[in-house]
Symmetry: C2
Subunit: 536 residues, 2 copies
């Protein structure tokens, strides 16, 4: 037997035959992402619990077979379930889908990797909980835990998820189990309520990393606000963007708006509502001048479509916040629309004058991601460049990998200044248009100091050549942004192997850590370890 | 030459003779803490910059001489400048005292270890900055950077300091220099505004740790609030504490109060105002029944003396917050006093009724730690048990080590429930009283999920036997709290060598990391590495 065959045999002994899959049919599907990949998957193994994960890792280390963990495998636009290195075995954590602890008073929940946003939502609903989770913009059937580890962004005031989680249970590459924070003290009552514990804080080591598999994590929940308002605001062109960003930065630094402030560009909003209007394109498959403007006008879409949420403790409190936000944005936007459960207010942007206040019939107001309710509206963007005839499945079967949707995320972090954000937007627009794709861009203001700028390169994998064009576009975009000082804060599996790690001592340290914890290099080699730059 | 002599020689070559001190006279002082220690210091070396720190570490590793870094050395109650292990050389980072970067718009400053709170305050004042730092309750002449690394607590909404810092420049034990976060990319414009960077997050490894020396750090600053109110509230006895804590937890979880809510017990407030009334003590050096009550009454000190700050964007905003806070605490406290720059409001606690609203003559309102102004009032507590004749020096010369002040901190983290906080307080009171000291306790509510409970064991090192009694008291207190599930979140150098690390796999991991980064074990051995539990 080869080492791989021995490993397969050992895994079958531990997991049972049905949980070790190496039939070719099943694996072609798992080798598909929303962009071109060449990695070959040797097998998929499906442990049922933490103990089995430990065994899987011990066997992988013993036989030197690389294991690549996925939780629910919906990492679309970053690589889906495809391993960074070819000839890996995918470790599917989907069967670890238990909610193992919950505390209404201290507002947390402890989850395994397979627990989805939808599952957590239903769990909270079933208990009549007053707590809400930070909802994802991706599918409700993705993993809560994995999104924290990948430093994904959510809605609501816990949107910067990685700062609202603690007590990781981690299986190290050799199979040993550790708990971070106070979790290492079995009887500590603060396990799930403190991010720091005592001594070196290790959580950071296991996010965007290949140093261990997190099999449990405590995620913090926020009480539903006693009162909420949503504010939408519109900006007609890029000229006013720098000044508006400056004003928004002040709102964040002042702690007046605790939840993220988001701005979506015209294409982003359009792609949520319709497919690419293929019949109206000109040469090079790009929209004819004027076509975009005409569609935007018909749908009341502006160049920048902003949204922020005011969580308040009473209506009176919310109205004061409204007043302060109006004051902050006055003169910088075209229009501001505020809405609570019963009323809407429209302000003229230039003067900050209230023009309409009227009862609003938003019966579904509390069925919003801002109240912790999962939603799927964002997902339509994945089909932007697909033919109308390709209809996405709904719910858990939604599968852009299978449907040939093309998506590569370019997720950058930019200092929260008007100048920096405008410059990043300019580079994105110019580069993506240059490759005849549409810049589908979101500005997510998570803190008062930096903005997460997310550009989606969306294409149709069924069109010959688009895979190649899209990757070239992405590579050029990352390079141009990096040259301007704007670095990615999350990577797709292809860029992981291309981007420089930066300083050579940092690479040496990463190598030292990886080698110390995973001498066989069997856990997700290539994942955020910058091996391409390793010394020797 | 012995290895130590060779090392001394090499350090002299790099630092100059005057920066390598091994005269006995100077070292006795550095061997003194606010509690009994037996560690012997071999020498003190004083590098001038990062490059020299690198050289110092290389020499230490070469000759196997343990180095123990201190920044300004004011870690009172935790061990001052005394190394965890005897026969160490103290690496004094005080000469690295430059403010190397500052950005008013993005609200950060980059500091070296020797930069003090006072220095940073003066720096901001000199520039007419609108930014304020989170002030320490310890001396203004302590290190900003070291307080972050030790996870110290501050005032204002950035009080949980370690969550408001990024971009560490770190010298590893072998002398290599790394930068955390985006700092490893020399040209990244987000270096100082993002805590996560790309790939594994390493900052946590270097706080409460001996894995590297942080020689630079970016610390975030908050814009001064446009409007502020301080709220003081009083609680007469322990009966109402659980209900009050529940109400305060909700205020924090609701994000209505972003800054810490603090409650100080009677002894804490008393110790800030006067010395222990020695002439009125009974047997066992404890206060006679009734004496404490009499003094408290004369000074308007309650059993629990609470304080919170409302940072607002306008007066109207602040008044709404006041209303909500009154509503939340109504029926749970005796009295609430709110104050802004011009007015004070007094509410009856039981009914929440406003009884007095009057102009207040607080001309010094903005000269408050809540506006980022350093203060020294807390420091008087260190002299609580000293004779009146021992007068502390003022300013940078304030020196409780020299004056024989006795202090051991017991810094615990407790879940933010009424039951847990009350139980921790009960254990603290019972234990500390049992050893004839006074429980000097602060409850610092930094988040909505856990409370930092700080009990100070204060004594007079000049009184024979007190060193021993205080240590026994501390050991018993930590043990009892741990048995109840309340673990320390910061340790003094003696407890570092006694407390169990918890789980054995965790210890193995810490050993693996330490061994990989510091094979010679020369950097601060014993510091938060739980060597007492290491395998083999």
């Amino acid at each position: 037997m080869t080492d791989f065959e021995s490993a397969l045999h050992a895994w079958r002994m531990v997991l049972g035959v049905s949980n070790v899959i190496n039939a070719e049919a099943g694996l072609q599907e798992i080798e598909r992402a929303t962009f071109s990949t060449e990695q070959h998957v040797l097998a998929v193994i499906r442990p049922a619990d933490t103990r089995e994960v430990q065994e899987c890792l011990r066997i992988a280390a013993k036989y030197g077979v690389p294991l690549y963990p996925v939780s629910t495998g919906k990492n679309w636009g970053y690589g889906s379930r495809v391993p960074v290195e070819t000839d890996s075995v995918v470790l599917d954590l989907g069967r670890l889908n238990r909610i193992v602890d919950f505390d209404e008073e201290l507002a947390y929940v402890t989850v395994e990797p397979g627990v989805t946003f939808q599952q957590l939502y239903e769990y909270l609903q079933a208990r009549g909980s007053n707590l809400m989770m930070s909802v994802t913009g991706s599918t409700p059937y993705s993993s809560v835990l994995a999104n924290v580890l990948e430093r994904g962004l959510g809605h609501g005031s816990y949107g910067n998820r990685v700062e609202y989680a603690c007590h990781f249970e981690v299986v190290l590459p050799g199979g040993e189990l550790i708990n971070t924070g106070f979790g290492r003290y079995r009887d500590a009552r603060t396990k799930n309520v403190s991010r720091w514990g005592l001594g070196p804080a290790l959580d950071g080591l296991f996010s965007q990393s290949n140093l261990g598999i997190v099999t449990r994590m405590t995620v913090w929940l926020r009480p539903a606000p006693k009162y909420m308002q949503v504010c939408k605001f519109l900006l007609g062109d890029d000229t006013g963007l720098p000044d508006l960003m400056q004003a928004l930065q002040k709102l964040k630094l002042e702690e007046l708006v605790n939840s993220p402030i988001s701005l979506f560009n015209d294409y982003k909003l359009l792609a949520m509502q319709q497919r690419f209007p293929g019949e109206e394109v000109g040469e090079n498959y790009s929209l004819l001048p004027g076509v975009l403007d005409k569609i935007k006008q018909s749908k009341s879409i502006a160049r920048w479509n902003g949204m922020l949420t005011l969580y308040a403790s009473s209506k009176k409190h919310g109205l004061v916040l409204q007043e302060l936000v109006v004051e902050a944005m006055q003169g910088l936007v075209e229009v501001m629309l505020f809405q609570d459960e019963t009323t809407s207010w429209i302000y003229e942007g230039r003067t900050g004058r209230l023009v309409i206040e009227k009862p609003s019939a938003s019966r579904g107001f509390k069925k919003s991601p801002l109240y912790g309710v999962p939603f799927e509206e964002d997902l339509a963007t994945l089909y932007w460049r697909k033919q109308e005839s390709v209809k996405p499945e709904q719910g858990p079967d939604f599968n852009p990998d299978k449907d040939g949707c093309g998506l590569i995320w370019c997720h950058e972090q930019v200092p929260f200044t008007g100048k920096d954000v405008a410059e990043a937007v300019r580079i994105i627009d110019e580069t993506i248009r240059g490759w005849n794709f549409e810049p589908v861009t979101s500005l997510r203001c998570m803190s008062g100091r930096s903005v997460n700028v997310l550009a989606a390169i969306i294409f149709d994998r069924a069109v010959a050549g688009e895979d190649r064009q899209a990757r070239k576009c992405h590579t050029e975009l990352v390079q141009k942004l990096v040259e301007a000082g704007y670095f990615p804060s999350r990577l797709d599996i292809t860029t992981m192997k291309q981007l420089s790690a930066g300083d050579k001592n940092y690479v040496k340290l990463i190598k030292t850590l990886k080698t110390a914890l995973d001498p066989q290099m069997t856990l997700a080699p290539g994942r955020y370890d910058f091996q391409q730059d390793w010394p020797e």
